[in-house]
Symmetry: C2
Subunit: 314 residues, 2 copies
């Protein structure tokens, strides 16, 4: 039992990130049933679809689960009402101010966790009354902070700044990384890429296989003039990088991005023209596995990694 398992009512302090086009009810149910916390990724759903996923998820697990709601998302207000109505036990909020809905959610007995990419925002989140923060570093896939602070640097800064539980995210796809961030003071972890590539993820099998093949250096943080996103390099991404090198402005980048790129890449499996959001930890992923296999492997690796401290440096 630690602070995160206690707070969320789960067995292992392992949270599956609420990722667009990956985190539907099948993935969330599998993770919650394995002893972690499964999250629905509301960012690629409309409210009707979210309701459907919440209901299916309730039918597939008796254990705690949550929903991730990006606060700048057009449907966020409606979704906040929806998760309250549906008595969703945990809500992760991201990309927006934690002041906006935290009180309201907590008044309805919902546990609130906010995702931050800096220690300053971790402190503001604590002031806003959230129950825990996710400290997500530069290596994470998808939307990312502007300061480019890495998980190694960030987790300890956040740990020193807040007293509430800290969940580390970004670059964690192995049990060794899990143990490393615990050493830095994290009370739990959030994993994205590894679960994005799991059998139960809603992503296209073509996308999952591409993630498995990914080697070091194949992802890049780009679109910084819009909102920074880490994605895998492909034809689309290379055009964006080229445009950025030549000084393209936000409007030109927005036009190049267009609409539906992440759906095209992740859900439809268009590896050349889709936006393939994924983290640096993709280089550590060696197969499409079931959520249960992933949990078993993480636990085994974690135990081995802890032994690395047996022969102390000092």
């Amino acid at each position: 039992m630690n602070r995160v398992t206690h707070l969320l009512g789960i067995k292992y302090p392992i949270i599956q990130g609420g990722m667009v086009w990956c985190s539907g009810w099948r993935l969330a149910a599998a993770v919650s049933n394995a002893g972690g916390l499964g999250l629905l990724g509301a960012g690629s759903m409309n409210p009707d679809l979210l309701l459907e996923h919440i209901q299916k998820l309730k039918g597939a697990t008796q254990l705690p689960f949550g929903v991730n709601i990006p606060l700048l998302f057009q449907h966020s207000e409606e979704m906040i009402e929806l998760v309250i109505r549906e008595k969703v036990p945990v809500v992760f909020t991201s990309a927006g101010s934690p002041k906006k809905y935290t009180n309201k959610l907590k008044q309805h007995g919902i546990t609130v966790v906010h995702v931050v990419s800096s220690a300053m925002f971790a402190e503001k989140s604590q002031e806003a009354g959230v129950d825990a923060v996710v400290a997500e570093g530069f290596e994470a896939g998808g939307h990312n902070g502007r300061d480019e602070t890495t998980t190694l640097t960030l987790v300890e800064l956040v740990r020193k700044r807040v007293s509430i539980p800290v969940i580390a995210a970004g670059g964690i796809a192995t049990g060794a990384a899990m143990a490393a961030v615990q050493v830095l003071g994290a009370d739990g972890i959030q994993i994205g890429s590894l679960f994005a590539s799991s059998l139960e993820s809603s992503a296209s099998m073509t996308f999952k296989n591409r993630v498995v093949e990914a080697i070091e250096g194949e992802t890049v943080l780009t679109l910084k003039k819009l909102a920074p996103v880490r994605m895998m390099k492909n034809e689309f991404c290379n055009r964006v990088l080229q445009m950025e090198n030549s000084g393209a402005d936000a409007d030109a980048l927005k036009a190049e991005l267009g609409r539906g790129r992440s759906r095209k890449g992740i859900f439809e499996g268009d590896l050349t023209e889709g936006e393939l959001e994924i983290g640096q930890s993709s280089a550590h992923i060696s197969g499409v596995r079931t959520v249960n296999e992933i949990f078993n492997q993480l636990i085994e690796e974690y135990t081995i990694a802890c032994d690395n401290l047996d022969n102390k440096f000092v």
Copy 2:
């Protein structure tokens, strides 16, 4: 005793990075005398000055020390001859191919360590016969890799790829970070920024105080069209960022950079127009301390951080 302390003949597997304008004989002697490995940073010296520093360093410590030689540096060949003549026990090479001088140095009984920013180059370094590699992540100050792989991601990738000792670098300025990279499989650590700000560093006190004041998000990896460098944001850096945003090419950036910027910033303490090379871990540094104080603090923090694993996640 671990593989790094054994290889280098030192007490603690703590190496002080060979940093331009910081790592002279005073700093290197203090680190070696404290039980780590002090390195002279040859990148900001000419061969005559390097000889002077080697001789003064020999007079100031009886313990092992080393020299860091950037291989693309104009004086590198002459410096290789110099360190052989002077019987320097350890040479760290960086920024160039490890194939070039490793055999020659080892024939003269010198221990060779090469600095890499990717697992692929770690493997090539091992093939070239080096005794150990430094795996340096994106958060590190000064010159940096093109793949932007963070220390958390990189160290484990390198660990899986090579059998020789791995020294983690980038983002390490606390005992907790030291323990975290050990969990990831590192056999030792290299610290830059924290020693750059030490009392014994050759850097200007103005620069050191600025490093101490630095908060999260104040460094940025820039000059990517030349060779990527992490530096602190200031007037000079902001002009470069502005130029890059507007699509400036390598020639224009080279002209803006000019010559002697790092000397101006680090050694002369020009905080507005100098190039202030420093890592993300500057956000963790809270005072200008002696090397001995730094060692004591690292050891104390390291011991506390190891205890974070007492209450296991799984």
